[in-house]
Amino acid sequence: MITELGHFALILAFIVAIVQTVVPMWGAWRKDTRLMAVAEPAANVQFLLTGFAFAALMWAFIVSDFSLQLVVMNSHSAKPMLYKISGTWGNHEGSMLLWVLIVTLFGAMAAWFGGNLPPTLKARVLAVQASIAVAFFAFILFTSNPFIRVAVPPFDGQDLNPLLQDPGLAFHPPFLYLGYVGLSMAFSFAVAALIEGRVDAAWGRWVRPWTLAAWVFLTIGIALGSWWAYYELGWGGFWFWDPVENASFMPWLLAAALLHSAIVVEKRESLKSWTILLAILAFGFSLIGTFIVRSGLLTSVHAFANDPERGVFILMILAFFTGGALILFSLRAGAMEAKGVFGMVSRESALLANNVLLAVSCFVVFVGTMWPLVAEMFFDRKLSVGPPFFNAAFTPFMLLLGLILPVGSMMPWKRAKLLQGMWKLRYGFILALAIGGLIWAMQSGRSLLGPLGILLGAWIVIGACMDIWSRTGKRGSFTRLFRLPRADWGKMLAHTGLGITFIGVAGLTTYQQEDIRVAQIGVPFDVGSYSLRLDDVQRLEGPNYLSTMGFVTLLQNGDEIAQLRPEKRVYPVAQMPTTEAAIDYDLARDVYVVIGDAQVNGGWAIRTYIKPLTNWIWIGCGLMALGGLFSLSDRRFRVAAGARKASANPVPAE
């Protein structure tokens, strides 16, 4: 019964979305306030109905209603409750329902917080947002309906993919979708502004919080996924350049670019058409990501139940929204004349350089991801593009970005002096150079990328600290430091986070130690400066799996520092094995232990990794997200938008 109500609510939401697309748009064109007023209640009703449909599906998972096909295929009565709930979106149909739920949530939020938008813009934004929802409602109802019953319900289900039964992965998709779909708001604002034919500083201020929110969620979602891959896949990689990972990384890069260009629109009313284009492309790449994941066009480890029919449907959605918006852009972009005048060297030009580098690096990822397809179609060459290409082709842009970031972020608006800006940072650069030099001196015969990455990371962190200190006046003062606008703190935290991630990536990729061996029970062995001892191996039983657990003692200089429990699990229902690495987390290094097979001549295969600075990667991502949240809570977004406060962000005196 609840299931049928959920299905019905979904169909109703589809109809409401169609109404919300057509009526307010028509009303905005006719300047009819009554028609435009439909948008707000429609957005709320749409959200409530979709929320009800989602809750109904979740209920079916919670009570293990095996009369529902989706529950049979993705759940099991013995599964822990957390994974019964997360199983709702651990499959294609349910995750699409979550996706559209978030589209409607953002639409409703635009209605709640959009009180100060001009009425026609608001109506158009909500109409465009609803049109995205229409497309995805149709996709769900016609190709991926989660509410399909089975005639003869089985006694139990087929269980969720064991890899997905993990707390990290339970929350990875919702955050990722909040990010992907959050970009739909920037898209809706861009298209609405193109229809209106007007982009001004106020528009930049409205668009920025949505982009910030989307970027924060994407950062968290990607970091969760990366962390999950690190501890779950059994050899401690954090990024694989898999097509689906790239699909989430491309919107992230463009959202980061959009964040920065929207500042220029907001403060200086320049870069308008570029910002609009970025907003369209950022969401376009979200759709491309969806297409890559769901169509199975590119081989990826993230295999969903792929289906060509679904792929074609999403390709049509992609073509309609991105293509339509780009056509609109080509017709209307000419009307967006820029106002501000600024020199070749200025904050504006630095932000432009940031945008060029981020957009080009996104392009490199895109070309690398699509190249196997292009090569096969046009050159009849079947080839792979793997991590070696991406590491070589992508990294230089990031290094360049890291190099210019501290200088650019301290430049004054309008006109700056490059040498003067660099002179201000001289001590910071010397310090970073010293740190990099020290690292270089300590290592022997390894890649130069390690010290270089750490040097740049340190340079970014020091630069961010010097930047915020310089905001407190010539002498600097701690009391003023804490009275700075939150946006300044956001900038400082996010940039620091990026620097810390740089350091983590450099440390992990350059200084990792690997050891694979047969360990005999009770016989210690050395890895790096550590010593490990396999005390015992036991077969244990979990709620829905069987485990082979190793009891490992980690020692340093004869002292015990940790007990590690690496596991091999087998999920009998899904017939799948997983590895659970045991990790001793530490700020300086992780010790990562994986247990393998029992050996014929006795003993167990044990893999040990010493992974320096790994946690810095995720701490950095956390700081970036925190920085985004700080910026998001800045006063200027809370007070009436449009009312410019001259003192909100003073230009530093030269």
Partner: protein
């Protein structure tokens, strides 16, 4: 207990990709083999190198790499051995020849285009905005005022 052991035996053995029994005694050769592991794709898997894959094919590939290296073949020989049998697809790193060169050049080329575009935009922005010339009537009015 017996039944559980049976279940365990039935399922493919999970976890560790490279097994100690596969490894070479000589640590220099083994280091070279591991580097090669990361460059050879597991053709039975979805975008995974043989270094991380648990598939039987990947295990065979790893043994093959070690066998070839032990025979004294160079890294390039090993790669060629795989390419002749499985095509370019088996290399994680696309070759820098022919049409694949376009892939390697795409990034730098795009950077050049982006930088040129940005520079021309900056040039346009750094000049003061051109003020539209006065119309004849406005000019006449201005002359009139100035004459006074």
């Amino acid at each position: 207990m017996k039944r559980r052991a049976f279940v365990l035996a039935l399922l493919a053995s999970p976890a560790v990709a490279l097994d100690p029994s596969e490894m070479l005694q000589d640590s220099d050769l083994e280091a070279r083999a591991r580097a090669l592991d990361h460059g050879i794709r597991c053709v039975k898997c979805q975008s995974e190198s043989v270094a991380s894959s648990n598939a039987t094919w990947a295990e065979d590939a790893r043994r093959q790499i070690r066998e070839l290296i032990s025979e004294g073949q160079s890294d390039q020989d090993v790669k060629d051995w795989f390419v002749t049998r499985y095509g370019e697809f088996v290399l994680m790193d696309p070759p820098k020849t022919g049409s694949s060169l376009a892939l390697w050049l795409a990034g730098p080329a795009m950077l050049a285009v982006g930088a040129l575009g940005a520079l021309s935009y900056l040039r346009g922005r750094s000049k003061p905005e051109a003020v539209a010339a006065l119309s004849p009537t406005e000019q006449a009015r201005l002359d009139e005022i100035l004459k006074k």
